[in-house]
């Protein structure tokens, strides 16, 4: 049972949602479509469990906040492994120091979400420590392999 008043109400609700709505630019939408190719079915996903840039809501007074250029500290955790990162701006990109836990040698691959940007690779040492120079910002994830099989892949993280 619907009448003209219901129609007006529905149209108003639609208007609130459509108001000022914009479609994404074609290249932005295209990148979202292409992202489907970045799906990784093999790796165990390590979730972001700590991010020094996200603790603003903890009530720490502004004056105590880290100053500009301080490293951003990120911890990703999966059931069987963790990845800890210290990320610092470096030129147009980012310098990354990290460690894979449990410690041990591993191949660490930084994958960019941006089309056309190259993968950056590093070897983790006996303690699982590694360093990476990422040439640009945007979304990246790290995929760690050990003994020929994928150990863990971090959630995507936006570096800006």
């Amino acid at each position: 049972m619907t009448g003209p008043a219901d129609d007006d109400e529905l149209l108003a609700r639609l208007a609130a949602t459509l108001r000022g709505a914009q479609q994404p630019p074609a290249d932005v939408a295209e990148l979202a479509r292409l992202s489907f190719g970045l799906r990784d079915l093999d790796a165990q996903l390590a979730e972001l469990v700590a991010d020094s840039a996200a603790d603003v809501a903890t009530g720490v007074p502004a004056g105590v906040r880290a100053s500009t250029g301080a490293p951003r500290l990120l911890t990703f955790a999966a059931d069987e492994a963790e990845v800890e990162l210290q990320v610092t701006p470096a030129g147009d990109g980012w310098a990354v120091l990290g460690q894979v836990v449990p410690p041990g040698q591993a191949l660490v691959r930084a994958e960019p979400a941006a089309a056309g940007e190259a993968v950056v690779v590093s070897d983790a040492d006996d303690l699982g420590r590694f360093a990476l120079d990422l040439p640009s910002g945007g979304s990246w994830r790290l995929v760690c392999t050990r003994g020929g099989s994928t150990l863990v892949a971090t959630a995507w993280v936006l570096l800006r």
């Binding site: 619907t2 639609l14 479609q23 994404p24 479509r33 840039a53 100053s67 250029g69 979304s139």
Partner: protein, 200 residues
């Protein structure tokens, strides 16, 4: 009444699209991007993110869905999930931007959500459910309702002006409006109920 927008029928529910994408269907993923792309982009712009930030958050939101395709709790409500995720990532970018600009930090920390809801800016309350139902309408109804909504923004709705823009007789606009809203309502009623969208 198919609108021929690709290999995926508009009537396919969001949950089915998620499940199809989860088993590797590229066309289903493309349809999700088509259906919700405008919603997410608009949310980015509502938060007043610049072009590069908006593009990054937009893509990140899709990457988050990619991580969750298999484990999403309620695939039929993927639109709401995307909208919430996008809002959260927008706020994270705004927070980080404030942290690295010390001059504005002290002031803005006290007005935390203000970046999202700037005073004086009429911010749309984007409703993922109605957005999805709208995205599933045929092209003609989408166009008619878009024009009616736009006309209403400029003052009292003028059927005459709307009919001119749509190049249709003014007498048929009322019935068309009612029919399109009825379809929208049916899609809304069917939304969120898995497999209930068999409206042929």
């Amino acid at each position: 009444m198919t609108s021929g927008t690709g290999r995926i029928e508009p009537a396919i529910s969001a949950g089915d699209l998620v499940r199809a994408a989860a088993v590797g269907e590229t066309a289903a993923w493309d349809e999700l991007v088509r259906r919700y792309g405008g919603l997410l982009w608009s949310i980015c712009r509502d938060h007043r993110l610049g072009g590069a930030d908006a593009a990054d958050v937009f893509q990140l939101t899709w990457l988050r869905l990619l991580e969750r395709l298999d484990t999403l709790q309620d695939p039929d409500r993927v639109g709401g999930w995307l909208a919430t995720t996008c809002r959260r990532e927008c706020l994270a970018v705004l927070r980080r931007a404030r942290r690295v600009s010390p001059s504005s930090e002290a002031v803005e920390l006290h007005t935390e959500p203000a970046g999202a809801a700037d005073a004086g800016i009429l911010r749309a309350d984007r409703d993922a459910t109605i957005w999805e139902a709208f995205a599933r309408l045929g092209e003609r109804c989408r166009r008619v309702l878009t024009v009616l909504v736009a006309e209403a923004e400029d003052g009292p709705p003028s059927y005459q002006a709307a009919a001119e823009r749509l190049q249709m007789p003014v007498g048929s606009l009322g019935p068309t409006r009612a029919r399109c809203l009825e379809q929208l309502r049916r899609l809304l009623d069917a939304g969120g109920i898995s497999g209930a969208v068999a409206d042929s």
